[in-house]
Structure formats: C-alpha cells, structure tokens
Symmetry: C2
Subunit: 280 residues, 2 copies
DNA sequence: CGTTCTATTGACTCGATTCAAACTAAGTGG
DNA sequence: CCACTTAGTTTGAATCGAGTCAATAGAACG
C-alpha cells in the first residue's frame, strides 16, 4: 500500500530521480469505500441510479499512496487504467526542459485521466500536490461496465466534458485576466469544486501547494505569485498562510476574479457551499 | 438556405443586433454529402467501419450558411442539436462586456459543440470567422445513432477528448509562451489540422480572420498582434497578407512555437501534410 | 543544528497595453 | 465613377504589469 521505491523529485526546475528517503505522511483514508468518492462526485453533476451505484461499487479499485511531488502518470506513456482521486490534490501538467505548466487541479472524486479510455497515450503528466491517495481502475473492467451500463457511460462522458469546460474557462482566465484576477479565479474554482463534494471546512481550503505551484498554474513567476498573494492578503480578501487559504470576502474575490460557477455545470449546490457562496 | 434576417455584428468591442443589409457571399458547397466531411475527419483519428459510415450518412443534417462574424450558437442558450462545420472557420468564444476571448478554432469536419450532447447549456458561443457553411444534426437522432452504434459513440467521445487535448495545449501556450510563440503555435496547429482533412493548398492557410481575431485568440491586443505578425514576417517564417497566410519555413516556425503535433492524436498524416511538415 | 525548501524584498529590464493618430482597402450611395 | 464611410492595418510614445537577478529571512526536516 506504500508508494514506489523511487520517485521523481523536483528541485529548482530540474527533475531528478532519487531514492525515497523521507517517511511517507500517510493521509487519512477517505471515509467508506473508494467508490463512494466517485459516486459523491457524479451526484454533483448528474443523476445516479442505484443500479449504476452498484455497478460502480463492483469496480475493482486498487488504492495507492503518493508523497508530495511524485509523478502518478507520466507524459508519453500509455495508460491501461484510470486513476480516481480519493484524498489530496492532483495536478495535470506539461513540463518542458525548463518550463512547467499546471493545466488543471483535481480534487477527491475526480478522474483526471478519464480521457485515457479513448486516448491511451498521455499528452501530459499527473503529479501529486502534497500527499495523495489514488484509486486505480483498470480499463478493461471499466469498459465492460460502461457497455453494460449506459448511465455510467454518459456520466463519465459528462465528466470529461466538464473537465473540458474547466479548461475553456482556464483559457479565458489566462488569456485575458491579469495576475491578481487569475489567482483569485483559481481560488474561487477550487472553493466551489471542493464545496460541491463536501470538502470545505470553515470557509477555507487546505491545499498543500507552494507559491511556485500557484505560479505554474497561473502562468507567472513564483516571485510574482508571491506579490499577487500579498496583494490579495492586503485587500483583505483571503488569509493565506502556508498551505492554508481562508476565504474572507467571497463576493469581492468573485468580483476580482470575474468568476461565475456556470461552467462547472453543477446540478446541485451542497448546503456548505450555499452558505459560503450564497449560490443556490 | 440563407442565413437569418438579423445577425450579431461586432463593432469596436460592442455587440449590436442590426438588420442584415449586405448581400451574403455564399461560399462554395463542400464537395459531396455533408456527412463526408465528418467521415473524413473521423478517419484522421480513428477507424470507421462501413457500417458506421452508413449510420453517419443516414443522419439528418440541415445545412445553413452564415456571413462573417455571426453568432451560430449563443452562450447561455440550450442546444438541441450539434453543429458540424462543413466549410469555413468557426470560433468558440466567451465574451464579457468588454473582453472577447477566442477559446479555439474549428475547421471543416469538426463538431464544435459535441459537448452539448451531455451539457446542453452552452457556456460559450460559436461564431463564424468569415463566411461559413454549417450542418445541424438534431440531438435525438444523433443519440439514437450513438446507442445503436458503439463505434460511432466512441469516435465522437474521442473527438470531444481531442478537443480537450487541444485546450490543454492552448493553456500551456497561453500560460508560458510569449507573443511570437503563441501566434506561431496557432499557425502550426491550424496547418496540421487543415492538412489532416486535406484542406491545405500550396503550403498556405486561407483564413478570413482579422488581426483582432488573432489577438483575441492569443490573449493580446490587436496592436500587439500586428507587431508580432510583422516580427514573423521579418524573420521570414511566413508571408501574411490579409486573410492569406503562407508558411515559408515550417521547421523554424515549429521551433519558435515549441510545437509538437502529439496532442492532436492523429492516427494518420495525409500525404500533403507529410510533404509540408515532414511528419509521418 | 545545519541543510534544504519556501517565502519575501529590492532594483532593473522587458514585453505588452494604452492612447492617439495616420494610412490602406473595400463597400456604398449619389 | 467619385466621394464618403467604415473596417482593418500600421506607427509612435508613454506607461504598466511581469520577469529577471540577487540576496535575505523564515520554516521544515533529518
């Protein structure tokens, strides 16, 4: 149940493979079965019948832990299974020699590589942001379940389409907003997505990212990310200490970010989320 | 067979609905049946059996023409059919009060709103870049065809996944490349995508876009886009006159753009494309 | 308790936007 | 056919957001 013996470690832009020396901080196992994370997520965006729920529960899922900054699935490889985030955060990224771009973040319940069901060759990598628990579902039984259960197929297709909708919004965010707005937008999105699956505590996000991660996601320098974060703090919009971000003024944050949750295509908004966002 | 009586006309950032006064320049009809465009495209990325081809040919497709800068499908509306680009270029865009972001371009054979099959509410608009011929396929018969023909279903799902892969690359492009590289990348991508469906003529792209369109796609000012284009011309990479872009030095363009066609997930490269790109 | 990340600060440079204005090409109406 | 209008392209100068380089301060870990 432990991670691999060697893992990719990022060090000032370079990627080295070094033996694992540190002990793994094993995060808490998600409550209940791994499949419940997926079902919770799917219920946010579509109807899931009990029959479909049973099909999902019967899927073989092998659970695995990752330490921080490990590569879960690597760019260029062919995937033979889909991974389901159970706990922690996963980043999708493309890394060139010097530049790293985080394309999107994934939270528990997401299947970041559902695309491999029909595009097995990975055109990007999946890496862990902080320690992460991931469930792997082999393609064959998943394909079998899909052909047997059209509702599940449509739910998964829908998931991949929402993933694309998030990418579209990210393009807009990068293309036409300036630094402060870009970071604010990421915060808004993660708040709503975490809230949707019931993982918001106390109006705040516990994301084990570094300011460099934020920078790589929003297309800026770590130094500039730092200044943007200070700006957000100064405006009193958030409290941002280390890996803990607390939303102080949601409405203003939304305004700065030009955020609207439409593109997330949520069917229902959880009570916790309603409280924070005022959405319904 | 003509477009609507009124259409959206963009004028210095504002959007006005004015009566159509100008005569429509009706583009040439695509050769053969509308469905052949789709089949040609699908064959670029997946295998299409004759049975599936027959299913596609039987789909009801109503053809419609659009003049330049018309809204084909509008953000916020619920779509009840998918549109298939038959001739010309379509842009996917999100427009706020002042800012316009082109999220992606579509070429003949593409289905820009296949996502509406499972996310009927449009979170963006589709507009015409120059005059365009579009085929509309109602959702119901399409859904029926999908449940009857798994191969078509998987082909379409695959198409939506490639659409997402293009968005991922676009995020990288916007996030970490500077102006010249961004524009060069768009050119490389369109060259390969047009070449794949056999629509490259003479190493050059006939795209009826304005420099403002290029700017909105690459996240910059029209003025800066102009300077970037001049830069590309000066370096001898392209000849860019009006709506006609000719690729002069493909290898250097690829290098400037940091372009690699992997993310387009093409199964085969057409002969014309091989000639220009040296790919296989 | 030192090593290694991570966060922070300052000064300088550069890419990109803004504002203003001129110039070209194309379409319209008299 | 020419004058007029409008969209689109091009140019210049001033300004600003963001990157770069360099260096320090704090936090986490073995």
């Amino acid at each position: 149940m432990l991670g691999p013996d060697r893992f990719m470690w990022r060090n000032s832009g370079h990627i080295l493979s070094i033996p694992r020396l540190r002990s793994l901080r094993v995060p808490d196992m998600p409550s209940g079965l791994p499949s419940s994370r997926l079902i919770t997520r799917l219920r946010c965006v579509t109807d899931v019948s009990e029959e479909t729920e049973r099909v999902i529960t019967r899927l073989p899922i092998s659970v695995r832990n990752y330490a921080s900054s490990e590569v879960i699935v690597e760019q260029g490889t062919k995937a033979s299974c889909c991974c389901l985030v159970l706990d922690g955060f996963v980043a999708r990224e493309k890394t060139n020699t010097s530049d790293r771009q985080i394309i999107s973040f994934y939270v528990p319940g997401d299947i970041p590589d559902a695309n491999t069901l029909h595009l097995s060759k990975m055109d990007h990598s999946l890496t862990s942001i902080g320690s992460v628990v991931v469930g792997f579902i082999p393609h064959e039984p998943l394909h079998a379940a899909l052909s047997q259960c059209p509702e599940l197929l449509h739910a998964l297709w829908r998931e991949t389409l929402i993933d694309a909708a998030i990418l579209r919004q990210w393009v807009v965010n990068l293309g036409q907003q300036e630094g402060v707005a870009r970071v604010a937008h990421v915060l808004c999105e993660l708040t709503v997505r975490l809230g949707a699956v019931g993982l918001l505590r106390n109006d705040s996000l516990s994301i084990p990212w570094t300011q460099a991660d934020v920078a790589h996601a929003t297309g800026m320098t770590a130094i500039h990310a730092n200044r943007v974060i200070q700006d957000l703090r100064l405006r009193g919009l958030v409290e941002w200490g280390g890996k803990h971000v607390k939303i102080i003024r949601w409405e203003q944050l939304v305004q700065v970010a030009s955020f609207s949750a439409d593109y997330l295509h949520l069917k229902r908004i959880s009570p916790v989320l309603q409280h924070i966002t005022g959405l319904s």
